[in-house]
């Protein structure tokens, strides 16, 4: 008995060793994150207090960049576009995803085929999606002129990306086309995990399709729904690629978002210090929005 006790490592030691092993597995990823996330983040905070072209020495200017940011109409206009974008993406693709997932959950044959078909645009590179829609919506050789040639001139000459009123919603439409299939797949997976017996019980209680959706489906997919809303908010505030590729924020700033404005400040105007302050400003506003959302969710 004594011999056996002597050979077995103490319980505390075993626990420490397990912790150490876990940490050792995490160290490589932690190092990468320090290198590519923490390091640049700290540097961004520092440079936001400087006047820096992006090359060479940076001159400390205190809060000047932040004061400029508060008075910068371009920044607030771009921020407003981000808010509009967020509202659009919190409604259209989520509604489409929910509806699509609900309809797909009702069928068995071809469910995988349709899921796959709707998901394809999400895995296609954004530059390819953009090039496709730039051609489809081109005022000279796109769908508008094709329809006009068969006697339906309703879209003839409409410059979706060149019109100041249409540019932002048109780019959002293209992004949505690629995005909603992903949302659909998330909702479909969540729907499949909702207990069928709950639907049966609701039917016995006389609930119709709409009541089943409100009282069984929605509560059943609540965690996924909240995840999708958070993901949408964060993605909408960080949006860059589709706007940059299609309109570069134009025409006349009509589709400018903070991401593209920040890029121009840093890499075209060579105001990397100011761009850093802009990035932190966006992070701050995003953080506040996400915190408000989490607070409201906790309050039910």
């Amino acid at each position: 008995m004594e011999q056996s006790t002597a050979k077995r490592p103490p319980a505390g030691g075993l626990k420490r060793r397990r912790h150490l092993t876990a940490w050792l597995f995490m160290v490589p990823l932690l190092l990468v994150n320090v290198l590519v996330i923490l390091g640049p983040s700290v540097a961004t905070v520092y440079f936001s207090f400087t006047e820096w072209s992006g090359i060479g020495p940076a001159e400390f200017v205190g809060l000047e960049n932040y004061r400029d940011l508060l008075a910068d109409e371009s920044f607030w206009q771009a921020m407003w576009h981000n808010v509009l974008w967020t509202i659009l993406f919190l409604t259209v693709p989520i509604a489409m995803g929910l509806l699509g997932a609900f309809l797909l959950s009702q069928i068995r044959r071809f469910q995988l085929f349709f899921s796959f078909a709707y998901f394809i645009p999400y895995v296609v590179a954004s530059v390819v999606n953009c090039a496709l829609w730039q051609n489809i919506l081109d005022p000279e050789r796109g769908i508008g002129s094709s329809l006009a040639s068969i006697g339906i001139p309703v879209l003839d000459g409409v410059s979706f990306f060149g019109n100041t009123r249409l540019a932002l919603p048109s780019v959002a439409f293209v992004n949505n086309w690629a995005w909603w299939g992903f949302i659909l797949l998330l909702f479909l997976t969540a729907l499949q995990s909702v207990d069928q017996e709950l639907y049966d019980a609701a039917k016995i209680d006389g609930a119709g399709r709409w009541q089943q959706f409100l009282n069984v489906t929605l509560p059943g997919i609540r965690p996924t729904f909240i995840f999708v809303v958070l993901l949408t908010i964060i993605n909408s505030l960080l949006v860059f690629d589709y706007v940059f590729i299609i309109t570069r924020g134009g025409p006349a700033g009509a589709s400018e978002v903070v991401g593209t404005l920040m890029w121009k400040e840093a890499f075209e105007r060579f105001e990397a210090g100011y761009a850093s302050a802009m990035g932190l400003g966006l992070s701050f506003i995003s953080g506040v929005i996400v915190l408000v959302f989490i607070f409201l969710r906790r309050r039910g």
């Binding site: 134009g250 025409p251 006349a252 105007r269 060579f270």
Partner: protein
């Protein structure tokens, strides 16, 4: 050293302003750590005219050595229309008749201002006079900062 289209503002009868602008300049930065090395590299790029012509044929429009070329200087593999264009361009720029591309001859913030704000003139958000006033302010600020690239004088100036 790419080429870009630029609008000509010349009146009839004035020297031809070539409707192409040189998209970059070959120069050595005043604060370069190895100015001699940079100068030697530029020499290497332009010293051998035959080699430069071959590069221009191999990478059309991307590399254009600022040398006095005639059509016969270019290899036979080059499209004769391109050869004629480059020879004409060489002759025009040799006389100082070239366009001042905004991305080469304007400082960076003024260049961005021209790109962004000219759209607002077209959409009617600002007037041409407001555009010019804003550009003047931006350019004056950058000139004070010493950010304006060296302007090459045009032909006859």
């Amino acid at each position: 050293m790419g080429l870009g289209a630029a609008a000509t503002l010349e009146k009839r009868g004035a020297p031809v302003l070539y409707e192409l602008g040189l998209g970059s300049t070959l120069s050595v930065n005043a604060s370069a750590e190895d100015a001699e090395g940079a100068a030697a590299f530029i020499d290497y790029l332009v010293a051998d005219k035959k080699l430069a012509a071959e590069w221009m044929a191999a990478v059309p429009s991307a590399f254009n050595a600022p040398l006095p070329f005639t059509e016969s200087d270019f290899p036979a593999s080059m499209d004769p229309r391109v050869a004629r264009l480059l020879a004409d361009l060489s002759e025009a720029t040799g006389k100082g008749n070239f366009g001042y591309t905004a991305w080469t001859f304007w400082p960076s913030k003024s260049d961005v201002y021209i790109q962004e704000e000219s759209q607002k003139v077209l959409t009617g958000d600002i007037t041409a006079a407001e555009f010019c006033k804003g550009l003047d302010e931006q350019f004056t600020e950058e000139r004070k900062e010493g950010a304006v690239p060296k302007i090459i004088k045009p032909g006859g100036a």
